[in-house]
C-alpha cells in the first residue's frame, strides 16, 4: 500500500511546490548554468542564493565581491558563466567588514552587469530578504542599480508586499520569479535551469 501511494505523494509534493513559487510572465523562461552569484550591498542574500542553488544541485560560483574582470578571465578560459544572480538590499555591517560602501558597490556592479551583457549572460536581480532590506536610501540604490538592468527578477512575497517588484517587472516586461520563502525557489530553479 505504501508503495502504491508513493507516486501520488510525489505528485502532490511537486504540485505543492509549484503552487508555492510562481513565474509571473514568461513561463517559457529557460535558464542555464553555470551561475555566478554576488551581492550589491554585502547583505547575506548572496549566501542564501548560493545555498538555494546548492540545494537544487545547480552548478554555481559565489563571491560577494565578484568583478567584471573575473567574468572576463573565466570567459577567456572557456569557462564563462551563463547566468549572473545579484542580490539586492544592503548591510552596513557587511559593507564595513568587506571594506566597501554603497558607491563602490554600485560602481563594481555597474561594470559587472556591463560585462555580463557583453557576454550574453542572463542577469537575475534578486531581493530575497524581505522588507527588512528595503528600509533606507542605500537599499533603494542597490535595488535600482541591479533591478533596472536585470533580465529576470527573483523576489520573495515579503519583499514585494507593496507590489514594487511586480510593477517593475511589468514595466520592464521581464519575468518575475516569486515565492513565499527563499527556500521555495530551489524546486522552481530546478525546473527553470534546463541544462
Amino acid at each position: 500500500m505504501l508503495y502504491k501511494r508513493k507516486p501520488i505523494a510525489i505528485l502532490f509534493s511537486i504540485m505543492a511546490i509549484m503552487c508555492l513559487s510562481t513565474v509571473v510572465r514568461g513561463a517559457e523562461l529557460e535558464l542555464s548554468t553555470p551561475v555566478a552569484i554576488t551581492t550589491c550591498g554585502q547583505s547575506p542574500g548572496a549566501l542564501m542564493v548560493k545555498l538555494i542553488f546548492n540545494r537544487a544541485n545547480l552548478e554555481n560560483y559565489h563571491d560577494d565581491l565578484l568583478t567584471a574582470e573575473y567574468l572576463k578571465e573565466q570567459a577567456a578560459q572557456g569557462q564563462g558563466f551563463k547566468t549572473l544572480v545579484i542580490t539586492t538590499g544592503t548591510s552596513m555591517k557587511g559593507m564595513g567588514a568587506a571594506g566597501t560602501d554603497i558607491n563602490v558597490e554600485i560602481a563594481r556592479i555597474g561594470k559587472l552587469i556591463g560585462e555580463a551583457k557583453e557576454q550574453g549572460m542572463t542577469v537575475i536581480g534578486a531581493h530575497i530578504e524581505g522588507m527588512g532590506r528595503r528600509v533606507d536610501h542605500t537599499d533603494a540604490l542597490s535595488i535600482e542599480t541591479v533591478c533596472n538592468q536585470a533580465d529576470v527578477l527573483m523576489v520573495i512575497d515579503d519583499s514585494d508586499s507593496d507590489g514594487y517588484f511586480t510593477e517593475l517587472a511589468a514595466k520592464m516586461e521581464i519575468p518575475l520569479l516569486k515565492a513565499p520563502q527563499a527556500l521555495n525557489f530551489a524546486e522552481l530553479l530546478k525546473e527553470l535551469f534546463t541544462n
Binding site: 547575506p44 549566501l47 542564501m48 545555498l51 546548492n54 564595513g96 524581505g130 527588512g132 527563499a182 527556500l183
Partner: protein, 524 residues
C-alpha cells in the same frame, strides 16, 4: 569657572564634535587570568567596549516571578541609550532572577559571575536566520539573571541560543569570557545559517567553551581562540551536541578528510592583530613572541603561563596600552612624519605626535592604523576580580570607567553596590551635557588629543593620582566591608555603595575640571 570660560569651552567642544571620526566597532579586547596566575588569587576577566554602545550603569535588583510569567526578548540592547528596543519574541521566565549590572553588554551579577564580550566575526556561512532572536547581549542578561557559576552561565546561555537561535548584533560570531570566583572560560557562539527556523526542531546556534587553566592567562582580541576540542575532558571543554554536525551541514568541515576538527579554523575565519602579541609578550616575555610577521599569531596557543603572577593593576595597565615605546612596528608615534629638525639639524618629536591618531591624521599622512588595546572610540571598559575568599558582595569587583581607557580611571565597583550617581546612569552622546559623566572623560580625551605631547602629562597626573588613591584604599575598603558584612550584609552593601558612589562623583568632577584646564592649555 567664569561664564566666558564656559562659553569658550562650549564653542570649542561644538567645533570638535563636528570632527567625530568613524572607526570599526569590531574592536573589543578581553584579557583573562586564572586564579593561580594572579598575585592574590583573584579570577580576572575584562572588556573594552569599543564602538558606540550603551555606557549607562544600570543596576537591576533580584526579583521573584509568578509562574507563567514571560520574558520579552529584545534587539538593540547595545544601543539602548539612543534607540527603542525591538521585541523579537518572549520566553518563559524563571522563578527568581538575580541582581545584575546592565550596560550595552550586561556584565556582572550578585554571585560574582562576570561576563565580557568580544565580537569574533566568523565564516559567512554562519549568518543567522531572521527567525533567530537571541543576541549576545540578551544572552548575557539572561545568563546573569539565572546563573550562580560560570559553568551554569555557559549551560544556560548555550541552551537558550540553541533553542531560540543566535542572532548577530555586531558582525557574525561572538565570544564571551565568563568568570566566577574559581574559574574563567572562553565561550564562543555562531549562527547556523540563514535558513534555520524556530519550528524546525534543529539547533539554532553552535557553541563551544574552553576553560583557561588556573595558572594561565588568555586574551580574546576579536577572533576565535578555541582550537581542537576534547569533549571528554569536561573539566576544560563544553560544547553543544551539534558542534561538528553544524559544520558538516554548512559545508565547513568534511569528516571524510584527515583534517582534525579545529573549531577556530572551521567557524573562523581566523583573524590576526597586534593586540594578542602585545598581551602575550608583556605577560610572558620569555616566550619571545614574534611580531615581525603577524601570520605567526595563528600559532599562538589558546592560553599561556605568565612569567610572573599577574595583578589587577597590570591588566589595567595593559588596558591603557597604546603600544607607545613598545619597540615594535605597532607604535604609531614611532614614525618619521612626527619629527622635525631643530636648528642644529637634530630630529625632534613634535608634540602633535599621538599614539592614537585620528582617521583624518592617518589619512593625511598615509599612516597604517594599528589596533591598539586602548582606543579613542571605546564606550566603557572594565577589569574584574572575582575572589573566592570574600563574600560575593565584596569579593566581586568591576573596575570600571568611561571613554578612552588610555586616559581614564578604573573605579572599583563591588557587586554589593546598590546604586551609582545619576550622572553615571544617563548618556546622550549627541548633546554635550555636564550632568552626564561620560562627557567629563570624553572631553578630556578629545581636547588632549589635539596636542598630545603637551597635554597628556596633565591628563596622566590627574588620572594617576585618582587611580593610586583607589589602589591604595582597596584592601582597607575590603577589610572594613568584611567587618560590616559579618555584622549585617546590608551594612557592607551600604558601605561599598557609598565608596563607589563617591569615587565616581570625585572622578567625574576632577575630569571636568581637567577638561577646563586643558582647554586653556591648548595652544592656538
Amino acid at each position: 569657572m567664569s561664564r566666558n570660560t564656559r562659553t569658550v569651552s562650549k564653542v570649542l567642544l561644538a567645533l570638535m564634535l563636528v570632527v567625530v571620526f568613524q572607526t570599526s566597532a569590531i574592536a573589543c579586547t578581553n584579557i583573562l587570568v586564572g586564579k593561580d596566575a594572579t598575585t592574590d588569587g583573584s579570577v580576572i576577566t575584562s572588556h573594552t567596549v569599543d564602538g558606540r554602545y550603551d555606557s549607562r550603569i544600570l543596576i537591576y535588583p533580584a526579583e521573584d516571578h509568578e509562574p507563567g510569567t514571560m520574558v520579552p526578548i529584545y534587539d538593540n540592547i547595545v544601543y539602548g541609550d539612543r534607540t527603542q528596543l525591538i521585541e523579537l519574541g518572549q520566553i518563559p521566565q524563571v522563578e527568581h532572577t538575580y541582581k545584575y549590572f546592565h550596560g550595552g553588554y550586561p556584565y556582572a551579577n550578585e554571585h560574582s559571575v562576570i561576563i565580557a564580550e568580544s565580537t569574533i566575526v566568523g565564516n559567512r556561512a554562519t549568518t543567522n536566520s531572521i527567525e533567530a532572536i537571541m543576541t549576545i547581549e540578551q544572552l548575557q542578561e539572561l545568563g546573569l539573571q539565572r546563573a550562580k557559576t560560570a559553568r551554569e552561565a555557559i549551560e544556560i546561555i548555550g541552551e537558550l541560543a540553541v533553542t531560540y537561535g543566535f542572532r548577530e548584533s555586531c558582525w557574525l560570531g561572538e565570544c564571551l569570557t565568563i568568570s566566577d570566583p574559581n574559574e574563567v572560560w572562553v565561550f564562543e557562539v555562531f549562527g547556523v545559517g540563514p535558513f534555520w527556523t524556530k519550528d524546525s526542531g534543529e539547533p539554532g546556534a553552535v557553541w563551544a567553551a574552553q576553560r583557561v587553566p588556573d595558572d594561565h592567562i588568555a586574551c580574546v582580541p576579536n577572533f576565535s581562540r578555541i582550537a581542537e576540542i576534547d569533549i571528554n575532558d569536561t573539566d576544560h571543554f563544553m560544547a553543544c551536541d551539534n558542534y561538528i554536525d553544524t559544520a558538516i551541514q554548512l559545508e565547513l568541515y568534511d569528516p571524510a578528510s584527515d583534517d582534525p576538527f579545529v573549531w577556530r579554523q572551521v567557524y573562523g575565519p581566523f583573524s590576526i592583530n597586534s593586540r594578542l602579541w602585545r598581551v602575550y609578550s608583556t605577560l610572558q616575555p620569555s616566550g619571545n613572541w614574534g611580531f615581525e610577521n603577524l601570520e605567526e599569531l595563528i600559532d599562538y596557543p589558546f592560553s599561556i603561563k605568565p612569567d610572573e603572577k599577574v595583578s589587577v593593576e597590570q591588566v589595567i595597565s595593559l588596558f591603557r596600552d597604546v603600544f607607545d615605546g613598545a619597540g615594535a612596528p605597532f607604535d604609531m608615534t614611532d614614525n618619521e612624519i612626527w619629527y622635525y629638525n631643530d636648528r642644529d639639524g637634530n630630529p625632534v618629536l613634535s608634540p602633535l605626535a599621538n599614539p592614537q591618531p585620528s582617521t583624518d591624521v592617518r589619512t593625511l599622512f598615509g599612516m597604517k592604523n594599528q589596533p591598539t588595546i586602548a582606543v579613542t572610540h571605546c564606550s566603557y571598559y572594565w577589569v574584574s576580580q572575582a575572589r573566592s575568599w570574600l563574600p560575593n558582595d565584596i569579593g566581586g569587583v568591576v573596575w570600571i570607567g568611561l571613554d578612552n581607557p588610555h586616559k581614564g580611571v578604573f573605579i572599583p565597583m563591588r557587586v554589593g553596590t546598590e546604586r551609582v550617581p545619576e550622572s553615571w546612569t544617563v548618556v546622550d552622546r549627541d548633546r554635550y551635557d555636564r550632568s552626564c559623566s561620560y562627557w567629563a572623560f570624553d572631553t578630556v580625551d578629545r581636547v588632549s588629543s589635539q596636542n598630545y605631547g603637551r597635554l597628556m602629562p596633565m591628563v596622566a597626573e590627574v588620572r594617576d593620582s585618582l587611580q593610586n588613591d583607589m589602589f591604595a584604599f582597596h584592601d582597607a575598603i575590603d577589610k572594613v566591608a568584611l567587618e560590616l558584612w559579618e555584622q549585617d550584609p546590608h551594612l557592607a552593601r551600604d558601605f561599598v555603595t557609598d565608596y563607589t558612589y563617591n569615587m565616581m562623583l570625585r572622578s567625574e568632577q576632577e575630569y571636568y575640571d581637567l577638561a577646563d584646564r586643558l582647554l586653556h592649555a591648548l595652544p592656538h
